[in-house]
Subunit: 216 residues, 2 copies
DNA sequence: CTAATGTTGTGAACGATTTCACAAGCACGG
DNA sequence: CCGTGCTTGTGAAATCGTTCACAACATTAG
C-alpha cells in the first residue's frame, strides 16, 4: 500500500526492480507459480535480504512460509515501475543508432511505443518506417506536443545533443533517454538518463587494467 | 603515486573518471589550460569535494591555489582508465545493433578497435565492413584467440546471449559488454557490463510515475 | 487444536560513499 | 620577503545502501 508515499528510492533499487520483473517473466514461462526471495536472488546474483528489502519499500507482497505469487508480483512490479500503461516515445535521430533502436523489439514488448521519428536530413524526412513517417525535426516542439510524447530518445550527433535536449524540454517532455556520448543538462524536474556506450567500454578497460572486477 | 595499490574503486568513481576525461577534452578544445575541481564539478553535476576525493584515490594531481593542468590530468586519467593502449575488440552479432555499434565513432576515438566481426548468418559471413570481413561465429573461439581479442561486445539475440558468453569466456576473453536484454553470468574474474536499454526506459517510466527524478 | 516447517518483513548493525570543513601549499602583488 | 587569496588533499561526520538476524505469520501434518 505504500505506493502513494513520497519516499526516495535509490537508482540501484529501481534497476533491481526491473531485473526482478524480467526474472518473474522467465519463471512464469517455465510455469512456476510461486517463488521465494531466495530463488529470485539467485537468478539475479543478489541476496534474499536485498530482494525483500527492495520490495518492502513499496509494501508487503509475499506470504510468509510460501513466498511470492509469480503472477501477482509480476503485475505489482509492472504497476510500481509504471509499465501498466503505454508510454508514447519520440525517437529523435534516424541514423544508424536511431534505426537500431527503432527496430529493437524489447521496447515495444514493454509498453514503450515509438509514435514518431524525427530527423533533419531531407533525404530521410517523409520516409516510412513501419507505420510511422519521419518528421522534419524543424518542427520538433509542435510534433512532440501534437503526439503527446512522454519520453524522448535522443540518437543525434553529440554536437547537437544539448540543443535538441533543450528543445525537447521546451516542448514539455518530462523524460529523456540520451544516446549521444555526452552528459546533458536538463531541469531537475525532467528525468534524464545518459547511456554512454563508450563509458561502459572504459569501465571494462579499467577493470582489465587494474584487475578489479566490475560486478558486485 | 598510488596507481599500483590494490584498492577497491567503486563503480560510481570509475564512471565519474570517464566523465571527467570527456570534460577535460571539451575544456582542452576550448583552450582552457587549467581547471579547478569546482569547474569540473559544475560541468559534471557533482561537487568539488567529490571530484577531489575521486582523484585522491589515485594520487595527487593538482596544484593548490591553481587547480589542475588540463593536459596533465587528461593524460593521467587516460592512463588510470587503461586508455593509453589500443584494446582489441570483437563484435559478435552483425545485426542492426551490431552494425550501429560498428559505425559508432566514439569507440575508435577512445582506443577501442573492432578487429573482428562475427555472425552466424550465411548471407553475412564473408561480407566486408570497412576493413574487416565478417567471420563465421562457428569458429568463434579460434577467431577470438587468433585476433588476441581483449573485449567482446555481444549484440546477439537474447536466446543466444548466455551460450555465446560462455564460449567467449572459454576462448579466454576477460571482458564482455552485453547488449542483449538479459543479465549474463560469467566467472568472477571476467569483467562484465550488461547494457539494458529497456531498463533505462523503465527507470524513466518509474521516475515519471512517482515524480522522483533520476539524477543526483 | 498444536507442533513443525518455511519464508516473509523489518529493526538494527554494518559497510560504503558522499559531504563537510579546514590545514597545507602555491602564486602573486606589494 | 611577507601577506593575501585561492584551491587542493584529506580526516571526520553525515548520509545512504546492504546485510544480518529474528519475531511474526501462513501452511501443512498429525
Amino acid at each position: 500500500m505504500g505506493t502513494g508515499v513520497a519516499r526516495k528510492i535509490s537508482e540501484s533499487t529501481v534497476r533491481r526492480l526491473s531485473l526482478y520483473l524480467r526474472f518473474l517473466e522467465e519463471f512464469e514461462e517455465q510455469g512456476t507459480e510461486t517463488l521465494s526471495s531466495e530463488e529470485l536472488a539467485r537468478r539475479g546474483s543478489t541476496t534474499a535480504a536485498q530482494v525483500r528489502k527492495d520490495l518492502s519499500l513499496f509494501g508487503s507482497f509475499g506470504k510468509r512460509g510460501l513466498g511470492y505469487s509469480v503472477r501477482e508480483l509480476k503485475s505489482t512490479l509492472r504497476r510500481l515501475l509504471g509499465l501498466d500503461r503505454a508510454w508514447r516515445v519520440a525517437l529523435i535521430g534516424a541514423g544508424r543508432i536511431g534505426s537500431a533502436l527503432f527496430a529493437y523489439g524489447d521496447f515495444r514488448r514493454r509498453g514503450f511505443t515509438i509514435v514518431t521519428v524525427l530527423d533533419t536530413d531531407p533525404d530521410k524526412i517523409g520516409a516510412r518506417w513501419g507505420s510511422v513517417r519521419i518528421q522534419d525535426a524543424e518542427g520538433l516542439e509542435e510534433v512532440l506536443r501534437r503526439e503527446s510524447v512522454d519520453i524522448a530518445i535522443l540518437a543525434v550527433p553529440v554536437e547537437e545533443a544539448q540543443r535538441v535536449a533543450d528543445r525537447v524540454v521546451d516542448a514539455g517532455v518530462q523524460a529523456v533517454l540520451n544516446f549521444a556520448p555526452t552528459q546533458l543538462h536538463v531541469p531537475t524536474e525532467v528525468a534524464l538518463r545518459d547511456v554512454s556506450m563508450s563509458m561502459e567500454l572504459e569501465a571494462l578497460s579499467f577493470a582489465l587494467t587494474t584487475g578489479n572486477g566490475t560486478g558486485p
